[in-house]
């Protein structure tokens, strides 16, 4: 591959400092232009949510609302049962997150530290296969399984099937592989039991992974559409995403309501992002996904 490298050109042979600064301006401009492109749809959306209904479709459009109002938000709160859907979603997301973290940590540890067992290695391949063969694809049979288990229209139906995630298991497995076995051996010599070693020594060590997976899991569950769609039938048990979809699916979309409710549905994740930024955007942990 390297044989095709062109012979050095005299002009570019030595790049003085000036040339470096010269490239900095267009590159930064380009980056910020892209950033503006990525930010604009959301900024426009956010600003529109504060416009009164009459202003939304009034030409000429203005970027900033001329008469800012929170009427849409009030409507979402009063007439759309926002709080009900919000608390439904919160309950499902929090419960699943706790269970996912615990189950993934235990499973990831088993996959990392007991690799002598053949079935452990086989099960690891099975877990990986769940990313290739996701549940969305087998919607109808999954629905029938949930129905036959008596989980249709229950909170358990929303929570239990989402506990196993390949990504979560994988993150913990990668982390525990990096922990030296000596620590375990030492604990064993001191007479600790296997499960005790995991809960008392290994689990506390994996705090950064716990945080990252908890945030990921909460985001997955908060934003999930497919599971609630097939599991929930009763309108009182809708999650936010299903409820939002029901506004979009209406014959005449109530845009002021839709905009306001959508913006409000983003708040918990934005809050989590602001507080736990270093865990969310930590690319070193995400990179563990690739191995």
């Amino acid at each position: 591959m390297s044989t095709t490298t062109a012979p050095p050109e005299q002009a570019t042979r030595r790049r003085p400092r000036r040339a470096r600064e010269f490239t900095a301006v267009p590159l930064s401009l380009f980056m910020w232009l892209l950033a503006a492109l990525y930010a604009f749809p959301l900024v426009w959306f956010l600003l529109s949510a504060f416009k009164p209904g009459s202003e939304l479709f009034q030409y000429p459009l203005t970027i900033l609302p001329e008469h800012p109002t929170v009427a849409g938000f009030e409507k979402a709160w009063d007439r759309f049962d926002f709080f009900l859907y919000f608390s439904n979603t919160l309950a499902v997301a929090l419960t699943t997150t706790v269970l996912t973290v615990v189950a993934s940590a235990m499973c990831g540890y088993a996959l990392a530290k007991y690799q002598e067992s053949r079935w452990i290695r086989v099960f690891f391949v099975c877990v990986l296969a769940t990313t290739m063969l996701p549940t969305e694809v087998i919607l109808s049979p999954t629905f029938l399984v949930i129905r036959d288990l008596g989980m249709y229209d229950t909170m358990a139906g929303l929570v239990v099937p989402s506990i196993l995630t390949a990504t979560g298991v994988f993150m913990f497995r990668q982390f525990f592989i990096s922990i030296p076995d000596d620590i375990i051996e030492a604990a064993r010599i001191d007479g600790a039991r296997e499960v005790g070693i995991f809960f008392r020594i290994m689990l506390p060590m994996s705090r950064p992974i716990i945080m990252t997976l908890a945030i990921f899991s909460f985001q997955w569950r908060w934003n999930d559409y497919v599971w609630p769609l097939i599991v929930v039938g009763d309108e009182r048990k809708f999650t936010l995403q299903i409820a939002l979809r029901s506004i979009v699916g209406a014959e005449n979309i109530d845009w002021p309501l839709l905009l306001a409710a959508s913006v409000m549905s983003l708040l918990p994740l934005v809050l989590i992002f602001v507080v736990f930024q270093k865990y969310v955007m930590n690319e070193d942990i995400n990179a563990g996904l690739k191995d």
């Binding site: 590159l27 950033a35 999954t142 399984v145 506990i163 983003l266």
Partner: protein, 309 residues
């Protein structure tokens, strides 16, 4: 403890691996730790997967009895123009969105690790933000932008003196909006993966190339791209699998419309299985989609291995 000692002695042989004693000792601990996930795997992956395979050979409607009808569902499927339309539309979406996603995430990641750009920390937050947005809300955001008679984009086009475009009623333009929205939503995560990979390329390579007079493009082409090849493989694999099962975002963006022109496979499965209650037929579509996903994964692994060799 004593039991282990006896075990070790008894099992001593010429081909004994050092860890063999452990296999006997810790049989229950791994089972206890992985047990929950093993049960979940069995109940929510193997069971529905197996049921799906069985149902795909039946005329099951979700209730009552069903008869085995052999390959009839599959025969019907391969003669069904709506299935072909849905399949080709999904493949077209994947073919358009995966390269765009790859280029955008790699470009943005490169800019975010470059020494020449200013304001990287703030820009990273901007690029990452769409990750927080649910597919449903992302669909709503883009629907709002590309509304035919009220959207911002058509307003700008109108102001520039051109005719507004039919973003909702023209099937191909509607697909373009879906591609843009999908790329917008998926860039953040792939960008993070690329940033990690780019940071791991040894700086010495670039310095050596610079001394040899390689320009920025040559350095990117001959150092960066080969060094991040495994990550590129991962990103392409994950994005193609993601594209093939795109569903929620389209539901909110245009519901697979106009009409049924942009109905992707998952939506097709959902509609046949739940609205038409044709579980047998939907299961057959599921099995075909599973085969496609598996083929994509195996093909890409094969290409990746051949390039590495």
């Amino acid at each position: 403890m004593t039991a282990t000692a006896i075990d070790t002695e008894r099992r001593t042989g010429p081909r004994q691996r050092p860890g063999a004693a452990r296999r006997v000792r810790y049989r229950y601990a791994p089972l206890a730790l992985a047990g929950v996930n093993i049960i979940l795997f069995g109940v929510f992956f193997v069971w529905p997967g197996g049921l799906g395979l069985v149902y795909s050979f039946t005329d099951y409607t979700g209730i009552g009895d069903f008869d085995f009808i052999g390959l009839e569902n599959y025969e019907k499927l391969f003669g069904d123009p709506t299935f072909y339309q849905s399949l080709t539309r999904t493949l077209l979406f994947a073919a358009l969105s995966v390269p765009l996603m790859y280029v955008m995430s790699l470009t943005i990641a490169s800019l975010l690790v470059s020494n020449h750009t200013k304001g990287k920390a703030a820009a990273k937050i901007v690029f990452f933000f769409p990750w927080l947005i649910s597919p449903i809300v992302a669909g709503v955001v883009w629907r709002w932008m590309f509304g035919e008679s009220f959207g911002f984009v058509n307003y700008v086009i109108g102001e520039l003196g051109a005719d507004p475009l039919a973003w909702q009623t023209d099937p191909d333009l509607a697909l373009m909006v879906v591609v843009m929205a999908g790329t917008w939503g998926g860039t953040a995560f792939n960008m993070l993966i690329f940033i990690a990979a780019l940071k791991n390329v040894p700086r010495a390579y670039y310095e050596a190339a610079e001394i040899d007079g390689a320009n920025a493009w040559q350095r990117f082409r001959h150092i960066t791209l080969p060094s991040i090849a495994p990550t590129s493989f991962l990103v392409v694999l994950l994005s193609s699998l993601g594209a093939m099962k795109e569903f929620a975002m389209v539901q909110a963006l245009n519901g697979g419309g106009p009409g049924t022109s942009n109905t992707f496979l998952i939506q097709y499965i959902y509609e046949t299985g739940f609205q038409r209650a044709d579980v047998g037929y939907a299961s057959a579509v599921s099995m075909v989609l599973l085969a496609i996903l598996l083929a994509i994964a195996l093909l890409q692994m094969w290409v990746n291995r051949r390039r590495a060799a």
